[in-house]
């Protein structure tokens, strides 16, 4: 396939800023969503969809496409805006988010939303699914790749570690997990809630090749994605250090913004910080 958009890091940065603004407008309009986690993952999503993935919005089910699974399905807002900007459905449809009978509900629905590979929402589902798609590609000796984005708090679900074992056992080096390591979960920090560290060593112990990057440094993300697999014969784990609420000062790193959404006044402040006037 030759459908990947290969933008450079500056172009991707501009897209990410636009997607942040669209997402905040959408959440404010709907008065529903997960603001902090959406802003945390947008740079990763944008880099993948505009710099890495081989996908065709006109043929979202093409057999040889790369697969991207957003395991942290509560951040559907970020996924919807990214898919819309990438051309999977009209940007105007974002106005229907969470409205009655919209196909864009609070968690992505595979049956209805083009570009969504599997419905997610309950945590710990994405990585097992991704192991399955990677196994299918391996059986066919196909070149398409699988990427799965998990939250960090999500890694408290044991199903992830079942899948981590299986991925290494079957040498799935065309499978990459990106951990959105913002350090916060619904009620507190991950480390106060249930210790995840030493996280890189955990993945390594499960047989993965691991690297850590700044999840908001798009040039670094691009560089990392373009040299996958990190090691032949092993699945790759990219621990992306991020900030929940990245880009908006009064949301950034605030646990209370897990599923709080902006008021109209807060939206105006946020958009100003995100350079609305310059867009």
């Amino acid at each position: 396939m030759q459908h990947s958009e290969r933008l450079n890091d500056h172009e991707i940065q501009a897209r990410a800023s636009a997607i942040r603004r669209l997402t905040l407008r959408m959440l404010t309009h709907a008065q529903l969503g997960h603001t902090g986690g959406d802003l945390s993952v947008i740079d990763i999503l944008t880099t993948l969809y505009f710099g890495v993935l081989d996908v065709d919005p006109q043929a979202p089910d093409a057999p040889q496409r790369d697969r991207l699974i957003l395991s942290k399905g509560h951040c559907a807002g970020a996924l919807y805006t990214t898919l819309a900007v990438r051309g999977f459905f009209p940007i105007t449809e974002l106005d229907t988010f969470a409205q009655p009978l919209s196909r864009l509900n609070g968690h992505p629905n595979r049956v209805k939303v083009p570009g969504v590979e599997t419905s997610t929402g309950p945590l710990g589902h994405g990585l097992p699914f991704a192991v399955g798609t990677a196994l299918a590609a391996q059986m066919d000796a196909a070149s398409w790749r699988t990427f799965v984005i998990t939250g960090d708090g999500e890694l408290q679900e044991g199903s992830n570690w079942e899948a981590a074992m299986a991925a290494a056992h079957y040498h799935l080096d065309h499978l990459t997990v990106i951990v959105d390591r913002n350090g916060l979960q619904l009620g507190d920090t991950t480390e106060h809630t249930m210790h995840l560290e030493p996280l890189a060593q955990k993945w390594e112990a499960f047989g993965w090749s691991v690297c850590e990057v700044d999840g908001h440094a798009i040039a670094d993300l691009l560089d990392t994605f373009r040299r996958l697999p990190l090691q032949a014969g092993k699945p790759s784990c990219i621990i992306a250090h991020t900030h929940k609420g990245q880009g908006v000062s009064f949301i950034c790193d605030q646990v209370g913004w897990h599923h709080r959404v902006p008021t109209e006044a807060e939206l105006a402040r946020a958009l100003a910080e995100l350079g609305e006037a310059n867009s």
Partner: protein, 320 residues
């Protein structure tokens, strides 16, 4: 089919896992998309023959049921047709959320083969009994639930599940059962069949107890009670017209299943009956976690025998 097999002359009995595995191998020989996924359960699922023939299309995930369902959904996304073969108690209970979200809500083409269901594991106890699986899975939108009764129906159900695009639960017992269907039988998803005609009541059954229903009808006939025996292999989607017709034409329904009396075939039939044609009903099955004992003992203990069904049928008819 007359259902005239006599309890005095026990027929040959079959382990339906053999028919299951044989049909699965036949399908795999024709279609390279078919893969088998197990959780260290190849032997107990009788798929070692498949494993030997198609090692590149055989995935053992280890003892990890949640992962097993997620992997199977992903395989389906990648164009494969996974048959997941696992003890029904673990397959359904441990991975129920994955079955709901990854298979039913996401509508994945995965075939769940719940092996050794019901009380087949006998004295291993209620941890290993699977008396809730039909109830759990039949509430899931987009899920098809099939409970075959003998080797012929098992093979045909496997074929039908393969031909149908979408998630299917096949309940496969290890408890030996006699053949109850003639060679001319043709299984269809969502269709009931009448194995014996009668006008005084209808016994609706499936799976391992269908032959008990037939034997009970023989005994009832001696007492002048003509029982219709209906096979209901598909619990979802249920053949609602067949249930409504039975209620209208015979005026009393008795369901018989190797499952909890809550939410299984009996519950499914009752939902239709109360809405369309209320008549007296009895639901026979397991009312609680079973005590220690072999599968045969437990069936006797809960009167899931020809005599037990006769007694219940006679009580039921008195309510008409």
């Amino acid at each position: 089919m007359t259902g005239s097999q006599s309890v005095q002359d026990p027929p040959v009995r079959f382990d339906c896992r053999d028919a299951f595995a044989c049909q699965l191998e036949a399908i795999a020989a024709q279609d390279p998309r078919v893969v088998v996924v197990v959780n260290d359960s190849a032997g107990s699922s009788h798929v070692e023959g498949y494993q030997n023939k198609y090692p590149d299309r055989f995935i053992n995930v280890g003892i990890a049921e949640q992962d097993m369902i997620g992997i199977s959904a992903g395989l389906s996304n990648g164009g494969k047709i996974p048959f997941v073969c696992s003890a029904s108690c673990f397959l359904t209970g441990r991975a129920l959320e994955q079955i709901k979200v990854d298979l039913a809500y996401s509508f994945a083409n995965v075939k769940l083969c719940g092996m050794s269901s019901g009380v087949a594991y006998g004295a291993l106890g209620p941890t290993h009994h699977s008396l809730e699986d039909v109830a759990w899975l039949r509430t899931l939108d987009r899920m098809t639930v099939i409970v075959p009764a003998d080797p012929l129906e098992t093979a045909q159900a496997v074929q039908a599940a393969y031909e149908y695009w979408g998630p299917v639960f096949l309940r496969i017992s290890r408890m030996p059962v006699p053949a109850v269907h003639p060679a001319t039988y043709h299984f269809q998803i969502g269709k009931a069949s009448i194995l014996r005609e009668g006008r005084n009541l209808t016994i609706i059954s499936n799976g391992t107890l269908l032959h008990v229903a037939l034997a009970a009808a023989d005994r009832l006939a001696v007492d002048g009670i003509q029982a219709r025996v209906m096979n209901m292999p598909t619990v979802r989607p249920l053949d609602q017209e067949a249930v409504a017709s039975a209620a209208r034409e015979t005026g009393a329904l008795l369901t018989l299943e190797e499952h909890s009396i809550y939410g299984g075939l009996g519950g499914a039939v009752a939902e239709v009956v109360v809405c369309h044609h209320p008549v007296p009903m009895r639901i026979m099955g397991f009312p609680e976690f079973a005590p220690t004992g072999s599968a045969e003992f437990l069936l006797e203990h809960y009167h899931l025998t020809p005599q037990g069904v006769c007694s219940a049928a006679q009580d039921l008819i008195r309510m008409k």
